[in-house]
């Protein structure tokens, strides 16, 4: 079900770990939804000098995190901000549709880590890493029904294609 490159990043994830004196930390997801990702950044001259991740989640979530760190490493902050979840999925040569909903959160975590860095720089008091409690849609990423893979209408929890009420189904 996964591409070879997804399996490669899952089996040999790059840049796993914690940066103790990170300049920025970003955290997304929650166990309720399935996946959690934390991104740690070390910034030098407005470039990502070092990046590490920790992820709780499925094979796709781990591969996404690993690929994201490869895409972001060495990039300027502006370049890194331009990385989207779609870019990560593309670099992995695709993810199963139903994984796009909850596992493809790497770019969100990266953007939050950069924001954390920028907040600290302008002297905002250091906060606990912010955690998004609910998955929010970024850009034009569509959402797919986990049961039938059909595209879901935005803001609904009822899949018209397979008549499943996702709220009630659980």
């Amino acid at each position: 079900m996964y591409t070879e490159i997804v399996m490669d990043h899952f089996k040999k994830p790059r840049n796993v770990g914690v940066i103790e004196d990170a300049d920025g930390v970003g955290e997304v997801g929650n166990p309720l939804c399935g996946d959690m990702m934390t991104i740690y950044l070390k910034i030098e001259d407005e470039r990502i000098k070092d990046i590490k991740f920790q992820t709780f989640g499925c094979g796709a979530a781990i591969a996404v995190s690993s690929m994201l760190t490869e895409l972001a490493e060495g990039k300027s902050l502006d370049e890194a901000k331009a990385i989207t979840n779609k870019d990560v999925a593309k670099a992995l040569e695709g993810l199963p549709k139903n994984k796009l909903h909850c596992s493809n959160l790497g770019a969100d975590a990266l953007h939050m880590a950069i924001k954390d860095y920028e907040d600290r720089k302008i002297g905002k008091p250091r906060e606990e890493p912010k955690r998004k409690e609910k998955h929010e849609h970024s850009g034009d990423d569509a959402c797919y029904c986990p049961y039938c893979d059909a595209e879901m209408e935005e803001g609904t929890s009822f899949c018209r294609a397979c008549q499943t009420d996702l709220e009630e189904a659980h």
Binding site: P13, C33, G34, T38, F56, C58, A60, I62, P146
Partner: protein
């Protein structure tokens, strides 16, 4: 390297004697059991013989109480929808539990679309239903109680006999989904006191696509499939004779070897439970310690997610199952694990290990060693683990 299959609830191979009987049947020019000529008679004879064998496995009073179906899912759908339709005049209320299989839950959901009402009874932390709670849930309009015999995620076996005393007193039809029990543990429909019981042939090494629904004589139930008069007017359509012949042979084998199979499974289960602490820490064993399936171990491993574990074990040629949301294609953790009080994150890290005839102690030894390494690797990646350790 040979694959160690510890996902026996998902699929079992055919027993050699089952395979042989089915191949023999394929080679024969059987007629249709409903036909009046000699070829039809032969087919009807083979069907009767299989019905005798399978009805003995669950101890039907007469073989005609057994309806052949296309498997557990059809049997469950038939039981629930068939009684709901037959008894709609009496009422539109049904009682079930919080931990049923989707075949039950979604059949009930379908009925709810036609104004049926459903009361779902909770379970204790071991996944057991309190018969008194079932009694309390029953109203004057209740027409069916459907409670599973054993659970496919945690292995807990329900007190069906006690529940049947209640349903008999109140003259309410009782169905039990015994898909994971029949052929694994002794099942006696008369002793249990159920009116309907669903099961599947692959559980006891018969072919997939074949199952049965036990219907106690006199139970009001409509067919799920309308058409011909096959299966005593209860299930239309020409019978899957080759599959049914295979199921008959598998049933005979299951009945003959029940004791030795149960003993072998128990031994492997005890070995896993006893040795697991040598390889991993911070986990829960799910299910009831006494009333449980002998061939299933459900373990929730903290800080890591099930699909990742399954993929890593697969790389080492070991097959197990998980109940994590990601792997199940759902958005949330298993309703069964949440019902017994597992946290969302712990439910996500749940493996269901099931074993069968071909598994050995060596399989378990290797599985445990690989699992130990896998858990270490994944915990190193997990933010939940490091956070908990630092706190």
């Amino acid at each position: 390297m040979e694959i160690i299959n510890l996902d026996r609830l998902s699929a079992n191979p055919l027993l050699p004697e089952v395979k042989k009987a089915m191949i023999d049947a394929i080679s024969l020019d059987y007629g249709n059991p409903s036909s009046q000529h000699r070829l039809g008679d032969e087919a009807a004879g083979a069907l009767d013989s299989a019905r005798d064998s399978v009805s003995r496995l669950i101890n039907c009073a007469v073989p005609n109480e057994l309806v052949f179906t296309s498997g557990g899912t059809e049997s469950v759908n038939h039981a629930i929808k068939g009684v709901a339709q037959a008894k709609a005049d009496k009422g539109k209320h049904l009682v079930t539990s919080n931990i049923e299989h989707n075949a039950v839950l979604r059949s009930l959901r379908r009925l709810k679309m036609s104004d049926y009402r459903v009361t779902s009874v909770p379970v204790d932390p071991y996944g057991r239903i309190d018969p008194d709670a079932v009694a309390e849930a029953i109203t004057d309009e209740t027409i069916l109680v459907s409670i599973m015999h054993s659970n496919n995620e945690i292995g807990t076996i329900q007190p069906i006999e006690e529940i049947s005393q209640i349903t008999r007193d109140k003259k309410i039809v009782l169905h039990t989904d015994a898909v994971d029990s029949v052929g694994v543990v002794p099942i006696d429909v008369q002793k249990m006191g159920v009116d309907l019981l669903s099961f599947a042939s692959n559980t006891f090494y018969g072919p997939t696509g074949v199952g049965g629904l036990y219907v106690r004589r006199g139970t009001s139930i409509w067919p799920l499939l309308d058409g011909g008069v096959q299966e005593n007017n209860k299930r239309a359509g020409a019978e899957n004779l080759i599959g049914i012949i295979g199921m008959g042979v598998a049933a005979e084998y299951a009945l003959r070897n029940m004791e030795s199979r149960t003993a072998q499974a128990k031994q492997l289960k005890e070995m896993i439970v006893k040795k697991l602490p040598d390889y991993i820490d911070e986990y829960y064993i799910n299910g009831h310690p006494e009333h449980h399936l002998p061939n299933l171990v459900s373990v929730s491993i903290k800080y890591i997610e099930g699909e990742s574990i399954v993929l890593m074990l697969d790389e080492e040629n070991i097959a197990v199952s998980t109940r994590s949301a990601c792997a199940a294609g759902a958005l949330q953790a298993s309703h069964v694990l949440l019902s017994i009080g597992r946290e969302f994150a712990d439910a996500q890290g749940t493996l269901v290990i099931t074993f069968g005839l071909n598994n050995t102690e060596n399989d378990i030894t290797r599985f445990l060693a690989v699992l130990g390494d896998t858990v270490k690797t994944l915990r190193k990646i997990s933010p939940l683990y490091s956070k908990d350790k630092m706190a």
